[in-house]
């Protein structure tokens, strides 16, 4: 029984519909299918901008009340930026001929919309898992170009499955106590163990420290447009659900800071440009998680604003580094160098994104990051606020300066091999994202108008002190870079992180389970052969004797009769043609003799 209001068009329908259409068209020999790609994001943008807050799409399924369309300020803000980034992403991926890649991307994005609008945990879980599977494909589809994608994809999928199971366990245990699946905010004082399970399940996707290693492990191995999509949706869906369910949890404030710092520390050492960006996802999501943990209206607004801005500039970062990777065939800083002159527009796009993530005035990171940090200070969380400033220094140092310096400018030999021309659609996507980053930085109201919590317009980032303070902080970080650029020169090495622990844990788990199990299995087989089989045969003989002599004999002996006849017939069926011929001749002559005798 469904009760669907027609007033809200769920964007997931558009994306899943597109995926289905692409699957069908992949069998037909047509080339116009790619013009369908922007259709779903455009429909999503229209749906989100015209949506009226409320509850839509209630579904009664297996005796459960599911809500597929809960639309409020928080959900609509995330849906808004998801729709815009989906359009940018599909423009960026437009040149790609691989239909299966587009199918995975559309399913993934559709899943993200499903999560954002889910009103209950069950719906959320289903879309959550759809996202997990589809995003794994975006990694695996790169395995032809990059063999490392296979292992990274497996690790990614295993970690996300564990996260999903934690979440599911929490959801079911919660259902046993509470009696429903409604997904609403949990007051920290009332928190139960199952709430923690759910939060940790979300935390795996948000890249909590220790659970984070899947991110810098997998994203650098994904396809170029795949990484652009993934940078926007997985972690930000997690931010959304944490903001919805766990605002004001102090644990999250400290976890967020740990993430913000861990990410920048690793990014300072890294060599692979896409891995640097991945660590910066973790770091920037750390700001958002910290804002959720502090839990005031201002920090929550800061989290939302930062998530919005982050999706745009992080997408742009992955697009521009992806363009370098596309043209040069590598994203390793020690192999690149001096590309500014040959890829000036890519460099420009990167610089816009790099300054945005660093929170430089004029760019959108400035109006979102300062809100979160000011919110922390206003809540008298001085230590948290100062640690966020430390992370801001590290962000500018590694992604704002180190990466572009060694990829586009100097410090080491210039990359002098030939470059593959970059498709125009990639430039269009980068241009659109860059324009949005700058527009939001210059006119913060473009972003603040969507913020769901009260008081968004009381914050004014463009005050003389905030601008000066930011310029001082970042300017002198720049001076620090100038002094230390020799030290920061990238080296070809992998910096071990928790993924090493995952791998060793996985191997020891396998050894721990498989070796004793193999031993037990061997002993069991022996016992079974020696004792079990003999006993079983003996038992079988007794029952067979009882069956024959007891039941059958008492009744009419028909079973034995049938068996004996069957035995004779089986003996007759030798499978040799000559036997059948002889038998047929004997039968025919017998029949003829009978006819002759009777008539």
């Amino acid at each position: 029984m469904t009760d669907i209001l027609p007033a809200f068009f769920h964007p997931t329908i558009a994306f899943f519909g597109l995926a289905l259409a692409l699957l069908i068209l992949s069998r037909a020999n047509v080339s116009w299918w790619r013009w369908l790609l922007p259709l779903a994001p455009v429909l999503a943008i229209i749906a989100v901008f015209s949506a009226v807050p409320g509850e839509y799409l209630h579904l009664r399924y297996l005796g459960l009340d599911l809500t597929l369309g809960r639309l409020d300020g928080l959900a609509l803000l995330f849906a808004n930026v998801f729709a815009i980034q989906a359009l940018i992403g599909f423009i960026y991926a437009f040149h790609l001929k691989e239909i299966r890649h587009h199918v995975a991307a559309t399913v993934y994005v559709g899943g993200a919309f499903g999560c954002v609008f889910a009103g209950d945990y069950l719906t959320l879980f289903i879309f959550w898992e759809i996202m997990s599977v589809a995003s794994t494909l975006l990694i695996w589809f790169n395995s032809r170009e990059n063999p490392r994608a296979v292992g990274a994809g497996i690790r990614y999928f295993v970690i996300h499955t564990i996260g999903g199971l934690l979440m599911l366990a929490g959801i079911l245990l919660r259902y046993q106590v509470v009696g429903d699946f409604t997904f609403t905010g949990i007051i920290p004082a009332d928190a139960q163990y199952y709430d923690w399970l759910i939060m940790l399940g979300f935390g795996v996707n948000a890249a909590f420290v220790i659970a984070h290693a899947w991110l810098p492990d997998a994203y650098p191995e994904a396809t170029i447009p795949g990484a652009v999509f993934m940078s926007a949706f997985t972690t930000k869906t997690a931010v959304y659900v944490l903001a919805r369910g766990f605002a004001g949890w102090e644990f999250l404030a400290w976890m967020g800071i740990a993430m913000a710092l861990w990410g920048v520390f690793y990014a300072t050492m890294e060599n692979n440009a896409r891995r640097i960006l991945s660590y910066h996802i973790m770091s920037q999501v750390g700001y958002m998680v910290a804002g959720i943990g502090i839990g005031t209206a201002m920090t929550l607004n800061g989290t939302c604003a930062h998530a919005y801005a982050h999706i745009l500039y992080k997408g742009l970062l992955f697009m521009s580094v992806g363009a370098v990777l596309y043209a040069a065939g590598t994203a390793k800083l020690n192999e690149l160098g001096g590309l500014a002159g040959r890829l000036p527009l890519v460099m420009l796009a990167y610089v816009v994104a790099g300054l945005s993530i660093s929170g430089m005035p004029v760019f959108n990171g400035f109006v979102s990051k300062t809100m979160t940090i000011a919110g922390a200070f206003n809540d008298h969380q001085v230590l948290l606020g100062m640690l966020m400033e430390v992370a801001a220094v590290g962000t500018f140092l590694s992604v704002g300066l180190k990466l572009p310096y060694f990829a586009f400018w100097g410090g080491k030999p210039t990359y002098d091999k030939s470059l593959k021309p970059i498709p125009v659609n990639m430039y269009i996507a980068m241009g659109a994202a860059a324009v949005l980053c700058i527009a939001q930085g210059l006119y913060p109201d473009l972003l603040y108008r969507f913020l769901p919590y009260p008081g968004a317009h009381d914050f004014h980032p463009w005050s003389s002190w905030k601008v000066l303070m930011t310029l001082l902080l970042l300017g002198f970080t720049g001076l620090g870079f100038l002094v230390m650029r020799g030290v920061l020169k990238p080296h070809a090495q992998r910096n071990l992180d928790f993924e090493t622990l995952y791998i060793y844990l996985g191997r020891s788990f396998l050894a721990l389970v498989s070796r004793p199990l193999a031993k037990i299995d061997a002993i069991w087989s022996e016992v079974y052969e020696r004792v079990g089989l003999v006993g079983l045969l003996f038992l079988g003989r007794i029952t067979s004797w009882f069956d024959r002599m007891g039941i059958d004999f008492v009744l009419d002996n028909s079973a034995q009769g049938a068996r004996d006849t069957g035995g004779i017939l089986t003996a007759a069926q030798t499978g040799r043609l000559q036997d059948y011929l002889v038998l047929a001749i004997v039968l025919a002559s017998g029949f003829a003799l009978l006819v002759w005798y009777l008539f």
Partner: protein, 88 residues
């Protein structure tokens, strides 16, 4: 085989490169101007006590950038560095 058309060096970027010495001087001048401005423009309501001293955030940024670069690249990286193909 991929299309390997070479891309030409952009002229504006070339000019910027040749002016790197002057640009560096300009950068220092801007930094000095920012610190000078800090003597006149201060926080309306300081978040931390030291914020009222001009140049605090300048020192904060510089010291942390240098310290982070040194600690991570010279101390931590050699400790946790491994060959790039370690997991393959």
């Amino acid at each position: 085989m991929q299309d390997q058309t070479p891309l030409e060096e952009n002229k504006l970027i070339k000019t910027l490169r040749s002016l790197s010495g002057q640009l560096k001087l300009l950068f220092f001048a801007v930094l000095a101007a920012l610190v000078a401005l800090n003597f006149f423009i201060g926080p309306y309501s300081p978040h931390v006590a030291w914020e009222v001293y001009p140049g605090f955030w300048a020192g904060f940024g510089f010291v942390l950038a240098v310290a982070m670069a040194f600690v991570m690249k010279r101390i931590v990286a050699p400790l946790i560095g491994a060959p790039e193909d370690i997991h393959d």
